[in-house]
């Protein structure tokens, strides 16, 4: 109830307009949406690339954060970033249980991820990426990421 009403309103706003570099791919029902994002400046790491985001909403959205991951398709790679694992899991405090706020929304999350990519200069994966990707069985929001590095 909570989630459906709010997502319905977000969707009608999204259909009206979205900021540059963000496009809606599908929003069938109120469980899972796909959006594409592009980096708007000339950052060579992300030049001419489009990335696909998958949003999964629980019934208690926006009290609970959505689960947001990058998904890999033939023409949509997982962006290289020290806070993005190669399986698409994103380490961003905003998306964690602690950092989330119900005034955030799908559009503001996309914009945060856009600027997270725009500001990045390190062409690398997080430390321990291979091990994490091979061993993680938890859902993204249950992982206690250590948000120590504010330089990227």
């Amino acid at each position: 109830m909570f989630a459906t009403k709010r997502l319905g309103k977000e969707l009608s706003k999204i259909h009206g307009s979205l900021p540059p570099g963000i496009t809606l791919v599908t929003a069938e029902g109120f469980q899972e949406w796909l959006l594409d994002i592009r980096v708007l400046d000339e950052n060579p790491i992300y030049l001419n690339q489009t990335y696909r985001l998958k949003f999964k909403f629980s019934q208690s959205y926006p009290i609970e954060p959505p689960e947001v991951t990058f998904v890999n398709t033939t023409d949509r790679p997982i962006p290289i970033h020290p806070h993005i694992y190669s399986n698409g899991i994103i380490c961003l405090d905003l998306l964690g249980t602690q950092g989330w706020s119900p005034v955030q929304n799908v559009e503001s999350i996309c914009m945060s991820l856009q600027s997270m990519l725009t500001g990045n200069t390190k062409n690398e994966r997080p430390e321990g990426d291979a091990h994490f990707v091979a061993s993680n069985r938890r859902r993204p929001r249950d992982i206690d990421f250590y948000y120590h590095d504010n330089t990227v």
């Binding site: 009403k5 709010r6 977000e10 009290i63």
Partner: protein, 261 residues
């Protein structure tokens, strides 16, 4: 089944308000509206600060289209719920459903008032059109009495008919426009930044931002922080925003459609 069950449910101790409240709840499930009203009123008479009884009473009144009464009683349930929360009680669990009920009552009451207003407009329109038609017929009859006949008479009559046809069309168009509710945009000041709905009971945080009480309560249950600054925020820090509440009430009174917006 019903006939058998209800006498068994009747309170053994008629002075205990809880038994009347529980009876009201059972009758509500059986859609036995009039008896819900009797039982919850009996409960309220024994225990005036009776959130649940007002909650059941308002639901029965909606079902019986007594929308104005339903608005009043759902508001009473809401006020009692807020009072319980402020007194440190466990009303928090009910605030969401009670807020939804108040909104539903407001919408149904608006729809009812709209129906009455439109019926009134229709009656007025019929009278005005009827008066114009009589005036037209009088003028046409007047032509014959004044001895205007033949080709000239026919032309004069046609002229009168055309003139009144135009007037009646204008009147109909004007009434039609008046009957349409202008579904304007919901103003931003009325919208809760958490649920994105029109606010019923806005409360303000230390930062000066207002949220719907039932929304921010849900958030605080999970995380005792200000949604914008993430500074510590407790239920006790919330203050009602009475001016904004009055403005939202005024808006909803004229724009009941906005409940479902």
């Amino acid at each position: 089944m019903q006939k058998f069950l209800i006498p068994k449910l009747y309170p053994h101790d008629p002075t205990n308000p809880l038994l009347h409240t529980n009876l009201a709840m059972a009758l509500l499930k059986l859609s036995s509206w009039a008896r819900v009203i009797t039982a919850s009123s009996a409960s309220i008479a024994l225990l005036p600060e009776n959130m649940k009884a007002y909650y059941y009473l308002a639901q029965a009144q909606i079902a019986l289209h007594e929308t104005a009464e339903a608005v009043v009683n759902s508001r009473k349930a809401h006020a009692l719920c807020v009072k319980e929360i402020e007194g440190g009680g466990k009303g928090g669990a009910s605030l969401g459903v009670i807020s939804q009920l108040v909104m539903r009552c407001l919408k149904e009451d608006w729809e009812r008032r709209e129906e009455v207003r439109l019926a009134g407009l229709e009656g007025t329109l019929r009278s005005v059109v009827g008066a114009l038609e009589r005036e037209r017929d009088g003028k046409i009859a007047g032509l014959g009495d004044a001895g205007v006949e033949g080709e000239g008479g026919k032309e004069r009559e046609e002229g009168i008919r055309r003139e009144y046809e135009g007037m009646i069309a204008d009147v109909r168009a004007t009434f039609e426009a008046a009957g349409k509710v202008e579904r304007r945009k919901v103003p931003d000041w009325a919208i809760d930044a958490i649920q994105f709905g029109v606010m019923l009971d806005p409360v303000v945080t230390k930062t000066g931002n207002s949220y719907e009480r039932s929304s921010i309560m849900e958030h605080l249950k999970r995380s005792p922080t200000d949604p914008l600054t993430r500074d510590p925020l407790r239920v006790e820090d919330l203050r009602p925003n009475l001016a904004l509440k009055a403005a939202c009430e005024e808006f909803l009174k004229e724009n009941g459609w906005a409940v479902d917006w």
